[in-house]
């Protein structure tokens, strides 16, 4: 041993350069160990390794192993026994084998990945089959390929031209563990889904064809290379997972076969831990995901039977415990376990959900209203234009055509940009909500178990709660951010869309030519037109109010309220008297209105001459009469014989009493019968008063009538207009009518000195002849 050692030391220098850095590293590594024995063995190692590098490796290995054995045994013996050496040798051999295996398998694995990519993934991707989701099947297999390549190169670098005793595989793994974990995590995460997706594809004939085609080409290649046949797509996809699970095993084996004196030992230990952690993390991720999957299953989908089947002692007790805890929290306040971040995120989550829900509802209702309103507006616009323009005249382009098409664009765009994203977003909310609920349950469990702190139970509850909590916090944050962005986006889109719609409408309406607003306002123009229309006779005659007033029995032209209705005047009366004999003359007892055709109106006291005492139909109750101004029928019951000699019954207050009458008659009888001229003497003496009588007073009989309408003016009256008659005091006047046109009894139509006019009634007094 010693000579060799010495020889080793001599030849150390030549190899110094090569291994200097390595040595220092090794030395550093070894330094960390508190094994003093190691130090001495290091030098021994060096010499041994130096020596070996010049000669056959295997020999060297053996020797090294011999040297290592004392360390492996942790004995203070510096000189390894032959058995130790042997063991070391064996271990080293095994180690080399394992390393070889590691590298070789990695190489194979890499080749497999390459082939997979080349023959399966890329062709499938380039074919772009619709239902075949290449990404879903293989997720980040390219990254896996990359990292594997890197690992391989690192391994190769660590093993080629490097003394086995110096080969540090652990380092390689430690270097690469970060990216390794990330990439494999993703792949494994997606693998489950990928597997189920693959199964679903297998069921479809067409897709299966595609897949088997690719597999076939792959199989062919394998056949050429003489490698074992891979079974199917599934086994191809699972390779990375198998690989990553193999690492810990390999590393463990490697470590076990590495003598502790080997520099690699500790590194390997750490690498092994690291790789194991990777696997644990991947599993943890999967577990979280499974947990989430388990709890986010829609409970409504479970049938009653399912629910019942889930009931058992365990679940019942669990649930009752939870309820108790919940009540405890409610009554006592804060729970022991709090997570403020979570609470904040959860609040945000809830408010977002409410916002999105309301937005969807409101925006869709608003859009619906817009949709409803637009056609009406257009339609009414078109109709109005139709009415207001001549037939065939077109006043500018139709706003209708211009607006309807862009409106459809608006509807489509709003659907795409606003409603679809928002509804999709809304549908994403329930999932997390269920999980939040579950987390709360777990929280309760954890809470309840805390005081007791029974190890396993509390641990389980704690782990579950924390798993869920961590997952939720992390993802709720992401969720809230993304949801808010979407919401803001949609609101902005909404506003933009509205603006565009308004613009379109504006343009459409602006193209219609309009005359500038005329001087007269619209209402004036229209009122003017309307007045003209109303002046049309048919409107006047038939307006609603008028119709109501009339009883529509008459078939003549509707009687209009004419200011002057032809009434019997004195002239008529005198004519009658002169024309007809006394026995034909009758007087109207009262006012009779014309009711049937050819009837005439009679006022009370009017004189009529009966021409026929029957009507065309033969009835004797209707008589054909002549009033001097008109001829027509009146019912005989209205008439009484005209008998000037008799004292006639009076029923109006404008008749004189019998006394006076007799006096007058006496007086009057001396007048000549033919005298008809009115004497317009204005003396107030009684004798003179006779002269004032009107023309129709020649006949004594008739005179009575006249008498009854004679008044005198108590006071003088000055006419203020054409319609009124001036009176002088004590002037006698003859009253034609005891009311004016509108029925006002204050003004009477009087005749004096050949003039007619209205005089106020209270100025007049009855003539009484003493």
């Amino acid at each position: 041993m010693e000579p060799r050692e010495a020889a080793g030391k001599e030849t150390m220098g030549s190899k110094k350069k090569n291994l200097s850095f390595l040595r220092s590293r090794l030395y550093m590594l070894e330094r960390r160990k508190t094994d003093t024995v190691v130090d001495s063995s290091v030098s021994g190692d060096h010499s041994g390794s130096l020596r070996r590098s010049q000669s056959d490796r295997t020999e060297y290995n053996q020797k090294l192993q011999e040297k290592m054995t004392p360390q492996a045994e942790c004995s203070s013996a510096e000189t390894p026994t032959p058995e130790d050496e042997q063991q070391v040798g064996r271990m080293m051999a095994k180690r080399a084998k394992i390393i070889r295996e590691l590298i070789q398998t990695e190489r194979d694995y890499l080749t497999d990945l390459e082939l997979c990519l080349r023959e399966v993934v890329q062709p499938l991707r380039s074919k772009q089959i619709d239902r075949l989701d290449v990404e879903g099947l293989f997720s980040n297999i390219e990254s896996v390929h990359q990292i594997s390549a890197k690992l391989l190169s690192l391994l190769e670098e660590a093993t080629t031209d490097v003394e086995p005793a110096m080969q540090v595989i652990g380092e390689v793994f430690l270097q690469i563990k970060g990216p390794l974990e990330d990439i494999y995590k993703i792949y494994c995460y997606h693998h489950d889904e990928a597997h189920s997706v693959l199964e679903s594809y297998e069921k479809e004939e067409e897709l299966k064809q595609h897949l088997s085609h690719c597999i076939q080409s792959l199989k062919n290649i394998y056949m050429q290379e003489g490698k074992p046949n891979l079974l199917d797509m599934g086994s191809l996809m699972i390779k990375p997972i198998q690989r990553v699970m193999k690492y810990p095993l390999l590393l463990c084996e490697l470590r076990n076969s590495t003598p502790p004196s080997h520099p690699d030992y500790r590194a390997l230990g750490e690498a092994f831990t690291a790789v194991k952690d990777i696997n644990v993390n991947i599993n943890e991720l999967k577990r979280r995901k499974d947990l989430v999957l388990k709890y986010k299953k829609n409970e409504e989908e479970e049938s009653l039977k399912d629910k019942l089947s889930k009931l058992n002692i365990h679940s019942i007790s669990k649930k009752s415990k939870r309820v108790t805890n919940h009540l405890k929290i409610l009554t006592r306040g804060e729970s022991q376990v709090k997570d403020n971040t979570f609470n904040r995120e959860e609040k945000l989550f809830r408010s977002l959900e409410k916002t999105v829900r309301l937005c969807v509802k409101n925006i869709s209702s608003c859009l619906q209203h817009i949709e409803e309103a637009t056609p009406f507006t257009l339609q009414s616009g078109a109709e109005l234009r139709e009415i207001s323009s001549q037939d065939g005249e077109k006043n500018g382009t139709e706003p209708q055509d211009q607006v309807s098409k862009p409106y459809q664009d608006f509807a489509a765009r709003s659907q795409r940009l606003i409603l679809n994203p928002l509804s999709a977003l809304l549908s994403l909310f329930p999932g997390p909500q269920k999980l939040i609920q579950k987390r709360y349950d777990k929280l309760l469990d954890y809470n309840s178990s805390l005081p007791r702190s029974a190890a396993t139970e509390s641990d389980l509850a704690k782990r579950e709660y924390e798993a869920l909590n961590a997952q939720l916090v992390e993802e709720l944050q992401a969720f809230n951010q993304a949801a808010k962005t979407i919401l803001l986006n949609c609101l902005c889109s909404f506003v933009t869309l509205l603006r565009d719609l308004m613009q379109v409408a504006l343009q459409a309406y602006s193209t219609v030519k309009t005359v500038p607003l005329p001087v007269l306002g619209i209402s004036e123009i229209q009122n003017r037109v309307l007045e003209e229309v109303h002046n049309l006779t048919f409107v006047k005659e038939n307006s609603a109010t008028f119709i109501e007033r009339k009883l529509s029995f008459e078939k003549k032209k509707p009687a209009q309220v004419l200011p002057e209705v032809p009434h019997q005047t004195d002239a008529h009366r005198s004519k009658l008297l002169s024309t007809y004999g006394a026995e034909e003359l009758y007087r109207a007892k009262r006012k009779c209105n014309a009711t049937q055709e050819h009837d005439i109106n009679l006022l009370e006291g009017e004189l009529v001459a009966v021409l026929e005492q029957k009507d065309p139909l033969g009835s004797t109750s209707r008589w054909f009469v002549d009033t001097g101004c008109a001829k027509g029928y009146v019912y005989s019951s209205f008439l009484k014989p005209y008998n000037p000699g008799k004292g006639q019954k009076v029923d109006a207050d404008n008749r004189f009493c019998d006394d006076d009458f007799e006096n007058i008659s006496l007086f009057v009888s001396c007048r000549p019968a033919g005298d008809r001229v009115s004497i317009s003497d204005s003396s107030s003496s009684l004798s003179g008063s006779c002269g004032k009588f009107e023309t129709n007073g020649a006949d004594a009989d008739h005179f009575q009538e006249v008498d009854e309408q004679i008044f005198y003016a108590v006071h003088a009256f000055q006419a203020r207009s054409d319609h009124e008659l001036s009176l002088q005091e004590y002037q006698r006047v003859h009253i034609l009518r005891f009311c004016d046109l509108s029925g006002n009894k204050e003004w009477w139509l009087a005749e004096a000195q050949g003039q007619k006019g209205y005089v106020p009634a209270n100025y007049l007094g009855k003539m009484t002849y003493a």
């Binding site: 209702s365 309103a373 207001s388 933009t496």
Partner: protein, 253 residues
């Protein structure tokens, strides 16, 4: 009386010439159509204004709900945005109301007034019809008497009938002429009457839409993310949504 068979048909054809009748029918037909149009227009305008009002009310509701949301408390930017949106919506509502009022005043009410003339027209036509029927009846009677042998009582009756006929005929002629004269005038008056309404409607719409355009243009400037095109927005939404769907906590359909 109307069920008596001989009343239907005969008298009309004989007494009133076909051309006259046709003219009358034509004019009256036009007016009836106009009546229909005005009625329908009234209904449509009412529906349109109601729909407009409903729309602006629902728009205000959007912003109101957003404003009352607790999200506003947490995020200032969001609050600003929602307040701006709310202001815009309220202004839209106000302008809409104004527009509706304007339309009400210048279109719907004049429409109603114009429509109120139609009952009178219909009544007048009915009267003319009645007069026509009477005319026909009496004419038939006269002819009946004319056909009989000319004995004394018959002659007397004939004379009587003729006398009766005369005023009726005159009445009918007068009515007919009046209506024939006035119906076209009425029909023509609609042009002058409705043209201002139409223009006012257009004007009101133009004013409203230009205001709205301005309001919403300002709003888009004010909000974050001006100038994003549709596709950009859509893509952004899609990416966000797929991001969300990728989260494990989200239920996948």
């Amino acid at each position: 009386m109307s069920w008596i068979p001989f009343k239907i048909g005969q008298p009309k054809k004989q007494i009133v010439s076909k051309t006259v009748e046709r003219d009358f029918e034509r004019e009256y037909g036009k007016l009836q159509q106009l009546e229909e149009q005005t009625k329908r227009l009234q209904k449509d305008m009412k529906k349109s204004t109601d729909a407009d009002l409903a729309m602006s009310k629902s728009a205000v509701k959007i912003s109101q709900d957003l404003l009352s949301n607790p999200l506003c408390e947490q995020d200032q930017d969001f609050l600003h945005m929602v307040t701006a949106l709310d202001t815009a919506m309220k202004r839209m509502d106000a302008f809409n109301q104004e527009k509706v009022n304007q339309i009400q005043k210048t279109v719907i009410e004049p429409l109603k007034k114009f429509s109120s003339v139609f009952p009178s027209l219909n009544m007048a036509v009915k009267r003319r019809e009645q007069a026509l029927q009477d005319y026909g009846r009496l004419q038939a009677k006269v002819e009946k008497y004319e056909e009989k042998e000319k004995t004394g009582p018959v002659l007397a009756k004939l004379h009587q009938a003729r006398e009766e006929l005369r005023p009726v005929r005159e009445d009918f002629e007068a009515k007919n002429k009046q209506l024939l004269d006035e119906m076209p005038r009425f029909y023509g008056s609609r042009l002058d009457y409705f043209q201002p309404s139409f223009e006012s409607l257009i004007r009101a719409q133009v004013i409203y839409y230009s205001e709205m355009h301005k309001i919403f243009g300002d709003l888009t400037q004010q909000l974050d993310q001006p100038g994003h095109s549709d596709e950009q927005r859509e893509r952004e939404n899609e990416t966000k949504l797929s991001e969300l769907r990728a989260l494990s906590i989200v239920a996948d359909d």
